[in-house]
């Protein structure tokens, strides 16, 4: 009995020694293996860069003069040195203008409206094309752009749900502290008013023609379309 105890204990002793050694080796071994992993991670490619088309091409495609394009590009490149804006940066930038509310949802819709080729980033061409329509376009083009903004799934119809999303996003930008106090139904009511005005044939959706017709008959809207013409 005693000898068995002793043998058992000796075996355990040997086992413990072996385990200790292995552990120590493992510790050092792991360290070396870790270095290899980290070296590979550093070879990740840096961010995508983008260079816009030439000045002449942009001049031809948009309604800006050469000087205006220069000014625009300088500002754009200053803010986004890599030449493109991804959605996150866009949201951050846009949110700076509306400190009291949450501008991220609306910025998302705006981003989609600017990102005409839907590649997830706004390059300088997208940017300047959008601005050309908004600042120098005809009323028809501006209304077209607005319709495109509201039509989230770009199917040519504005449904009540889409409009509600847009409306909620706009009201989110107001934030909490408003007068009168922002109620839950306010966006919905606003959508109802909008649809009453715009939806002529009461089929629950607003098509581009209904939209443009209605806007052209509303002098408030017409006047406000020319509001930002001297922005640049």
């Amino acid at each position: 009995m005693l000898s068995m105890n002793l043998e058992g204990l000796e075996m355990i002793a040997v086992l413990v020694v072996v385990v200790l050694f292995v552990k120590v080796l493992e510790r050092f071994g792991l360290l070396e293996a870790g270095y290899d992993d980290s070296v590979e991670d550093e070879l990740e490619l840096s961010a995508v860069r983008h260079r816009p088309e030439g000045l002449e091409q942009l001049e031809a495609q948009t309604r800006f003069s050469r000087k205006e394009l220069q000014i625009l590009y300088r500002g754009f490149k200053n803010e986004c040195p890599s030449g493109i804006v991804n959605e996150e940066t866009f949201k951050e930038i846009y949110a700076q203008f509306f400190p009291q509310g949450d501008a991220t949802t609306y910025a998302h819709f705006l981003f989609n409206a600017f990102d005409t080729d839907h590649n997830g980033s706004v390059s300088f061409e997208d940017f300047v094309m959008g601005l050309s329509i908004l600042l120098r376009g005809t009323v028809q083009e501006k209304l077209n752009w607005a319709f495109n903004l509201y039509d989230i799934n770009k199917d040519g119809f504005i449904t009540k749900e889409e409009m509600l999303d847009i409306m909620k996003a706009i009201y989110d930008m107001m934030g909490k502290c408003t007068y009168p106090v922002l109620r839950e139904e306010a966006p919905r009511q606003h959508v109802e008013v909008f649809f009453q005005k715009m939806d002529k044939n009461k089929d629950g959706v607003v098509t581009i023609d209904e939209f443009i017709d209605c806007c052209q008959n509303d002098e408030n809207i017409m006047r406000s379309m020319h509001l930002f013409e001297n922005v640049l």
Binding site: L9, L20, G75, I93, Q96, F97, L135, I170, R223, F228
Partner: protein, 628 residues
């Protein structure tokens, strides 16, 4: 609004066309950009080095020297450039701030020189970018401490109006302030040393006398030692009492560590005086004398190194605790194993597991006294494993712990710093956000105010109160204005909003009382009658900052609420919309009426509940502004 994204403002404004078809009210007029200057290159000559940049780059920050008209003072007509007689190296980072919107702190610059440059160019240091902010703050703190140290040395000059007590306290705290203090310090130091040496020598065997074997000196020269002890204790008692008297806050002094040590040092003597004859107890109390040795720690008051060491030990207590804990674990394991391994052998010293602790500790720290040795084979194997693991457990982690400790210590410092800075940074962000929001509300009120002032014809007030904001600000405000129009809601600040919430809550609880408070809802005629009532104290609500003059605005809001409640919503709400419209739209035809709210008793009791106190707090002639 961060001027860094000023370049995107035209874009944001253009995108506002997306709101136009949704809006139900007309949009405010866009501000005209009258300064149609062509963008030009500006040359900034800083001590001979020429920097060039666009004018619009500098205009991004209009409240700095370079962004405002202040730089015209530095314009040199002959060379057509702006000349600054400042350091060109530091100017680089300042100009980069305009270009990139981020202020960086160059590490090789002296902190005070850099600060001076920032102050000269009107840039506040708080906007230093996150990458350099920590370094900047560190350097600044070091500099401040250095200045403080200098100041503390200057504090040795005797201040005129200190009473005796304060002088004494200062003498105790800084012994080099006066010769008396120095003398006192050295005397106490001497007696501390004497008492410690006495304690030590007391126990040395002093040679044998005729009757007994070797006695310790304490027993041989009892009287001498007793006299010396008494003298030391007298000095210590006197010193303690004097410190107690001079302390500015006695309670705090009594709770401090040093005073507790002092008390503990002199207490055994007095207790010994009381219980002289009882051998056992007084013997026990003699050991308390050992606390007298802690008097040496009193020197830490004047030694910086000791202080740092003490603080270090205190702060790395967790690391030391972990080392102790792991050691304890290993000790227990090995002691148990050794005990069971040696259980079999006869005349084994390993009588119990706690008895084996001693062997384990001695073996693991590689002391190896040899008073307990394993005799069985298993015991020897485990004993050798124990000593090997002792080397590993102690010798390996100790340097790791030491370096870990220094790294963790510095990291903790940095983490605390960053946490403190994070709070400050969040506060900055919040302030800038609320600042820009408040700027918009302020500009709205200014707009309202300007119309009212036009009506009352107080031209000079108008000039005084309105400060012209920059073009960027007007454009930004116009943008926010358009958003307000689109959603037919207005931006208000926090306090007003909270009050409105309170209002609505109260309104819902209020029983719809048919007893309408007459005066506020008197018809237009009633109000028009008082229109020409020229109030002496036309303290219009907008002329001061919102927080101090909330009450008039409160009245306005309460006012509107009541109107909404009491009449059918249909036309009244439209009326409200239009009044909002008129207030904010700055269209020409505002007919404002100045009414004075009648004194509280006129209101119905329950309407009074909230308004009453506020009304009474205002002057009796409350001027309210409302549009009809």
């Amino acid at each position: 609004m961060a001027a860094g994204v000023a370049a995107w403002l035209p874009f944001a404004r253009a995108a506002a066309i997306g709101w136009m078809p949704i809006a139900n009210c007309p949009m405010p007029v866009a501000p005209r950009d009258n300064s149609r200057k062509q963008d030009e290159l500006i040359i900034l000559n800083v001590s001979g080095r020429r920097f060039q940049t666009w004018r619009t780059t500098l205009d991004r920050y209009p409240d700095t020297l370079l962004g405002s008209t202040e730089k015209d003072f530095f314009y040199n007509e002959e060379t057509k450039e702006f000349f600054f007689d400042r350091d060109p190296d530091a100017f680089r980072s300042i100009l980069n701030f305009y270009r990139t919107g981020k202020l960086h702190y160059p590490r090789h610059e002296c902190i005070s020189a850099y600060d001076e440059e920032l102050i000269f160019f009107g840039i506040i240091p708080e906007i230093i970018g996150d990458c350099c902010y920590e370094e900047y703050k560190d350097r600044k703190r070091e500099n401040l401490e250095r200045l403080q140290d200098d100041q503390e040395e200057n504090k040795d000059i005797k201040l005129p109006n200190m009473n005796f007590r304060e002088t004494m306290w200062r003498a105790f705290e800084n012994p080099h302030t006066s010769t008396m203090a120095l003398v006192f310090y050295y005397v106490t130091g001497f007696f501390i040393a004497v008492s410690v040496i006495t304690n030590v020598v007391e126990t040395v065997p002093c040679g044998s006398t005729a009757n007994h074997k070797d006695m310790p000196c304490g027993e041989r020269y009892t009287v001498a030692f007793f006299c010396m002890d008494t003298a030391c204790v007298m000095i210590f008692t006197v010193e303690y009492l004097m410190r107690l008297f001079a302390a500015p806050s006695r309670y705090r002094f009594m709770r401090s560590v040093m005073s507790i040590i002092d008390v503990v040092a002199i207490l055994p003597y007095y207790i010994g005086l009381v219980m002289t004859n009882n051998e056992d107890v007084s013997g026990a109390f003699v050991t308390l004398r050992v606390f007298r040795v802690f008097r040496i720690f009193k020197f830490s008051r004047h030694s910086q190194g000791l202080r740092i060491l003490g603080y270090t030990l205190k702060s790395c207590a967790s690391e030391l605790g972990f080392l102790l804990f792991s050691l304890t674990m290993a000790i227990i394991i090995f002691a148990t194993v050794m005990f069971y391994a040696e259980k079999g052998s006869s005349s084994s010293k390993f009588t119990s597991i706690p008895a084996s602790f001693w062997y384990t500790i001695v073996t693991m720290t590689t002391l190896g006294y040899g008073d307990m040795v394993p005799k069985t084979i298993a015991g020897k194997i485990f004993g050798s494993i124990c000593s090997l693991s002792g080397v590993l457990v102690i010798a390996l982690p100790v340097p790791v712990i030491v370096s870990n400790f220094s790294r963790i210590y510095h990291q903790n410092q940095r983490a605390d710093k960053r946490r403190a800075q994070k709070k400050a940074r969040l506060a900055r962000i919040r302030i800038s956000k609320s600042g820009s929001a408040n700027a918009f509300l302020q500009s709205k009120r200014n707009g309202l105010l300007s119309e009212l002032l036009e009506l009352t014809g107080k031209e000079e007030d108008e000039q005084k109160l309105l400060k012209s904001p920059s073009l960027l600000e007007t454009q930004h405000h116009h943008l926010l204005h358009c958003l307000e129009k689109t959603t037919a809601h207005e931006f208000v600040d926090e306090q007003l909003y909270e009050h409105n919430c309170l209002e609505t809550a109260l309104q819902t609880y209020r029983s719809s009382s048919p007893a309408i408070p007459d005066s506020p809802v008197t018809t237009c005629c009633g109000r028009r009658r008082e229109r020409n009532h020229d109030e002496a104290n036309t303290t219009l609500p907008c002329s001061h900052l919102v927080p101090s003059h909330q009450d008039p605005l409160l009245e306005l809001s309460a006012f509107q609420m009541q109107r909404c409640d009491l009449r059918p919503p249909g036309d009244r709400s439209k009326l409200n919309l239009r009044t909002n419209d008129r207030i904010s739209c700055k269209s020409g035809r505002i007919t404002t009426a100045i009414i004075s709210l009648p004194t509280p008793p006129a209101l119905t009791p329950d309407g009074d509940s909230l308004h009453g106190p506020t009304l009474r707090s205002c002057s009796s002639n409350i001027v309210k502004v409302s549009a009809l």
